[in-house]
Structures are given as structure tokens and as C-alpha cells.
């Protein structure tokens, strides 16, 4: 067994496999399938200060090697999370991060302050990249000053590590990464979904209720890999890679590109056991290559 332990901003992770926000519920939905505590970490569903009903149906379109979604941050709000969901997460022996979103800087801060009161939460993932909400979300993550402003404001009131989830829907993702690093981010995770669209030729109508939505799945992996590689060379803070990771080989590619850890997203929908299989597969890869520790391959792309 290779050493899969990794560290992200002074927090120890038993392995580098986390589950991506919005694809793993609150973890409890997977209790029937496997012991969730085996994961390196869970990033729970996007949470906002006020409850959100999310977008209208249809919210999903299957596309070639991927899918579009427009859920629109449906959640019951930070107070409900604290009172009704958080107690169920205490049983897990793994790092739990809460994905925090908002329409204004003040909303991000208020939400983070509530999460700050929860001892069993290891950190937050600041979502400045949701493509499916009218206000906030991706709007913050597509300009350097606004991305930095959110991070700085939350940094002032949130004491534990802040991971900032970046949008790929920008001209140069490294600029945003550098901006949030300067503003106090402890790590960056990327990529969130790519803005896309699907049309039903027969009805001549858009498939999604909001016309556009976020593309995920293997279709986006080459873009994600490229962006992780670029960002890892541009910042000093850890980079958490995601985007179309379906198996351990995909995950290894992200480590080689410079990711300290990875997140499994859309694969959870298709195979609820995907993240566990990926952990086992990483171990198998390291053993096969006679590598003792995952840390020995991070950023070790041979040019």
C-alpha cells in the first residue's frame, strides 16, 4: 500500500480523493453504497445564506461524453444546514468542506460566518464560478477585482482554510488564480463547469429551462487538465483538480499536471462507487510504478 496522504493548507487528508460539490449531496446519500469515511474529503452541496428553490425543470441535458446542468444552487440555506444536516455529518471521519455561494459579497460573508461555527467542518470551498445563477456566482469569478474582493471579505471573517473554486469561463484562468491567492485563498479548485447549451432540433427549443447550463464529464477533461497545469505553474498555493475524472488514470493525469488533490464529480452519478475505485486505482498505479507516496508524482509531468 502506497502512502496516499496529502496536505492542503495544513489540513491532513488521508488520501487525495475528494468528492465535488453538487455531485455527492451531503454524503449521506452514499451511505448505502460505501463507507464515506474512506474518502479524502467531501465537499457538500452549494450552500447560500438564504434558501434557494433553484431553476425550473428541465435542468439537465445529456451531451456527448458529458452532461449540462442548470440546478441553480437549490439548497435550504445555511441555517438549515447547521441545524438539520450538519449533525448527520459528525459520524464521518473525513474532511468535510462546505461549498459557499452568494449573490452579494455580504451574503458570502454571512454564510461563511455560520459555517465558521461548525467544528467538524474543515474548511469552505468558495464558489465564485456557478454558471447557473442570475446574480453572483460566476459573475464574481470572471474578473480579478471582484474575485479578490469576495475572497478578501470572507478571509476577514472565516478562520479556517478557504479553497476557491474557479470558473473556466474566462480568458486567462491564471490571472484569476493569482488574484485570489493574493487576496488570501489557501488553495484553488478547478474547473467548475463550462458554460454550454443544447438544442432540440425537432422542437426547435432549448433543452434547458435556462437555455444555457454547465458542461461536465469526460468532454471537459482536456480543458480541465490544461487549466490545472497552467494554474499550478502560476500560484504557490495547492491546486485541487477536477473536470471529467472518471477513473484512476484520469486522476493520475491531474496529479502529474500539478494537482495536490482531485475531486470526483459527474462520475458519482454514473457509478456511485467511482471515488472508492479511484482511490484503489491510484494505489495500484503507485505500486505498479514502485512509487512510495502520492507526493512523488504531483507536478512531475516529464517534458
Amino acid at each position: 500500500m502506497a502512502d496516499l496522504r496529502t496536505k492542503i493548507h495544513n489540513v491532513d487528508y488521508k488520501n487525495p480523493v475528494l468528492t465535488a460539490s453538487g455531485t455527492f449531496g451531503y454524503g449521506v446519500e452514499f451511505d448505502d453504497f460505501f463507507d464515506v469515511s474512506l474518502l479524502g474529503g467531501i465537499i457538500v452541496k452549494g450552500t447560500t445564506i438564504h434558501p434557494r428553490q433553484g431553476n425550473a425543470y428541465p435542468r439537465m441535458a445529456e451531451t456527448a461524453a458529458g452532461m449540462l446542468n442548470t440546478v441553480g444552487l437549490q439548497n435550504k440555506g445555511a441555517k438549515y444546514f447547521k441545524s438539520d444536516i450538519y449533525p448527520n455529518l459528525l459520524k464521518y471521519d473525513t474532511n468535510i468542506l462546505v461549498n459557499v455561494s452568494g449573490s452579494t459579497v455580504a451574503e458570502y460573508v454571512e454564510c461563511a460566518e455560520i459555517i465558521n461555527e461548525l467544528d467538524h467542518i474543515a474548511g469552505i470551498e468558495l464558489n465564485i464560478s456557478c454558471p447557473n445563477v442570475k446574480e453572483g456566482g460566476m459573475a464574481f469569478g470572471t474578473s480579478c477585482p471582484s474575485a479578490a474582493a469576495v475572497v478578501r471579505a470572507v478571509r476577514n471573517s472565516y478562520k479556517k482554510p478557504i479553497m476557491v473554486k474557479l470558473s473556466p469561463n474566462v480568458t486567462d484562468i491564471t490571472e484569476i488564480a493569482i488574484a485570489v491567492e493574493s487576496a488570501g485563498a489557501d488553495s484553488v479548485s478547478l474547473i467548475n463547469t463550462l458554460l454550454g447549451m443544447a438544442i432540440n432540433a425537432e422542437t426547435r427549443k432549448p433543452v434547458l429551462s435556462t437555455v444555457t447550463g454547465g458542461l461536465s464529464g469526460p468532454a471537459v477533461k482536456p480543458i480541465a487538465l490544461r487549466m490545472v497545469w497552467q494554474v499550478a505553474r502560476a500560484v504557490r498555493i495547492p491546486v485541487i483538480g477536477m473536470g471529467g475524472i472518471m477513473n484512476a488514470t484520469d486522476a493520475i493525469e491531474f496529479f502529474l499536471a500539478g494537482a495536490t488533490a482531485i475531486q470526483v464529480g459527474t462520475a458519482n452519478f454514473i457509478d456511485p462507487m467511482a471515488s472508492i475505485k479511484i482511490i484503489d486505482g491510484i494505489d495500484e498505479y503507485l505500486n505498479r510504478h514502485k512509487i512510495n507516496s502520492i507526493s512523488e508524482i504531483i507536478g512531475c509531468l516529464q517534458m
Binding site: G22, G54, R59, E62, Q74, F269, P272, M273
Partner: protein
């Protein structure tokens, strides 16, 4: 009931006609209880164009042989691939998923209304109701007689009536044109229905008018089937609910339908 992801063995893929198949799948271990209305999410293949699993209601369950069967109507690429599956192939299935129909007291007279392949969601229910000694009437509506399959099976569990839009079988017209709904609805204490949205809404409207308990099984596109993608929501009196976990069965009074 614990949901599981299992590789099931195809023991037969019965071709009913050009478009309709019944896939029989064997579990490696003893099946746990599967309630009527619950569904399974099938991994079709690994082709880029059929990226996600496909949800199907569990058509029938055989606990003695540990088999479940799935009713397939060929519509697109995914169902075409499933129709081509041959015996001894293996299929990854997540099941049992979702809630179930509520079962009435014995001796209550109930009406099952199926539209097109939606009737498949009612087979397991009709078996359970039969065992529960309910008086069961089944009304199956379709476009044409070629869309009405497995009639022998259904008639085993209740009195069966049919409608077709082209008049090729049973009463010509929609299910709501049938005398069972037009004239005899008062005699039923419950209605269960599954089919195209306009049909279910029409049936639900009749039930509402007569204040008869009515449950529908909904089908929305979903990515996961177990409540994490939040893509399959329907509007209810309590906000958006997931068809996969809060449903697929809903009491029509819960739904924000314009009926």
C-alpha cells in the same frame, strides 16, 4: 431498503414486437423486498452518446429465482442498445430506487390507468394488489394495438380494458373516453396512473373532481437516480422535489399541476 449497485446477469431479453422488449435480469444474491413503483437505473454501455444511466420502473420481481424484469420500449440510442442485449451479458444496475405506491386496504376497488409504456410501472403494483385481494380494474391506453403488449399478463391480476387512438383495439379514443372513467369512476376508492403527462393530468383532473385518492408515477430526466444531482425536480406544494427520491410516486394533491 438499501440501494445497491450490482452487476446483474441477463437471462433473457424477450422480444414482444419491434419496439417492445422485456429484459430479465438475475441477481447474484437473494433479492431484498422491492416495492411496487420503485425503479432501477441501468448502465447501458460506455458509448459517448449514452453517457448516463437510464431509469426504468421494475416491471416484475421473482423472489424465488432472484430475478427482476424491466420493460423496454425502444425510443432512442439507449433503449436500442438495451434491446440488443443477449443472454449471459452483464448489466450494472442501481436498485431499488425511489418510493412506492401506497397499498390500500384489502377489498377496496382500485383503478389502474396506464398510457403507452407507462403501464409498465403498474405491473408490479397490479400483482401486489391482486395478492392483497383488491378488486383491480386496469385501463390501458395506447396509440395503436401494436403499443398494447403483455395484455394477458395484466388480465391475470384484474379486469382489463383498453383504448387506442386509432380504434385498432378496445374503445377508440383516449383513456378518459372510456366508460370506466366516464361513467363508473365513483365506484373506485383509488386511482393509480402512469403515462404521458397530458394523460396523467387528465386522469388526475377526473379524480380531483370526484375527490378520489390518486397517485401518479412520474418520469423526469435524471443524472443519478438517488437524490444528489437535483436535476429531476417537479414542482410540488412544498417546492421542488426530486422525482428520484421523493417520488417517482406522488399523490396528485401534492403536485402543482394545472388541472
Amino acid at each position: 431498503m438499501r440501494k445497491t449497485v450490482q452487476n446483474l446477469k441477463v437471462i433473457a431479453n424477450l422480444r414482444l414486437n419491434d419496439d417492445h422488449y422485456i429484459l430479465q435480469l438475475q441477481a447474484p444474491n437473494q433479492l431484498q423486498a422491492i416495492d411496487p413503483g420503485q425503479f432501477a437505473n441501468l448502465m447501458v454501455d460506455h458509448s459517448p452518446n449514452v453517457f448516463l444511466r437510464r431509469p426504468f420502473s421494475i416491471y416484475s420481481v421473482d423472489y424465488e429465482n432472484n430475478t427482476i424484469s424491466i420493460f423496454i420500449k425502444v425510443i432512442g440510442e439507449g433503449t436500442r442498445s438495451l434491446a440488443r442485449l443477449t443472454a449471459n451479458s452483464s448489466l450494472s444496475v442501481i436498485f431499488p430506487l425511489g418510493n412506492s405506491f401506497t397499498i390500500p386496504n384489502s377489498n377496496e376497488k382500485v383503478l389502474l390507468v396506464g398510457g403507452g409504456s407507462g403501464v409498465a410501472s403498474l405491473m408490479n403494483l397490479s400483482q401486489v394488489l391482486g395478492r392483497n385481494k383488491n378488486e383491480v380494474v386496469i385501463l390501458s391506453g395506447a396509440r395503436s394495438s401494436s403499443d398494447l403488449v403483455e395484455l394477458d399478463h395484466f388480465s391475470r391480476y384484474g379486469k382489463l380494458y383498453t383504448t387506442t387512438e386509432d380504434g385498432s383495439h378496445g374503445v377508440k379514443g383516449y383513456v378518459t373516453d372510456h366508460p370506466v372513467i366516464k361513467d363508473e369512476l365513483d365506484s373506485f376508492s383509488r386511482i393509480y396512473t402512469c403515462g404521458p403527462d397530458p394523460m396523467m393530468k387528465a386522469v388526475a383532473a377526473k379524480a380531483k373532481l370526484k375527490s378520489i385518492f390518486c397517485e401518479v408515477s412520474l418520469e423526469n430526466t435524471m443524472a443519478c437516480g438517488f437524490g444528489v444531482c437535483l436535476c429531476c425536480v417537479t414542482e410540488t406544494t412544498q417546492g421542488h422535489k426530486c422525482v428520484c427520491t421523493d417520488g417517482p410516486v406522488f399523490n396528485t394533491n401534492q403536485l402543482k399541476w394545472q388541472i
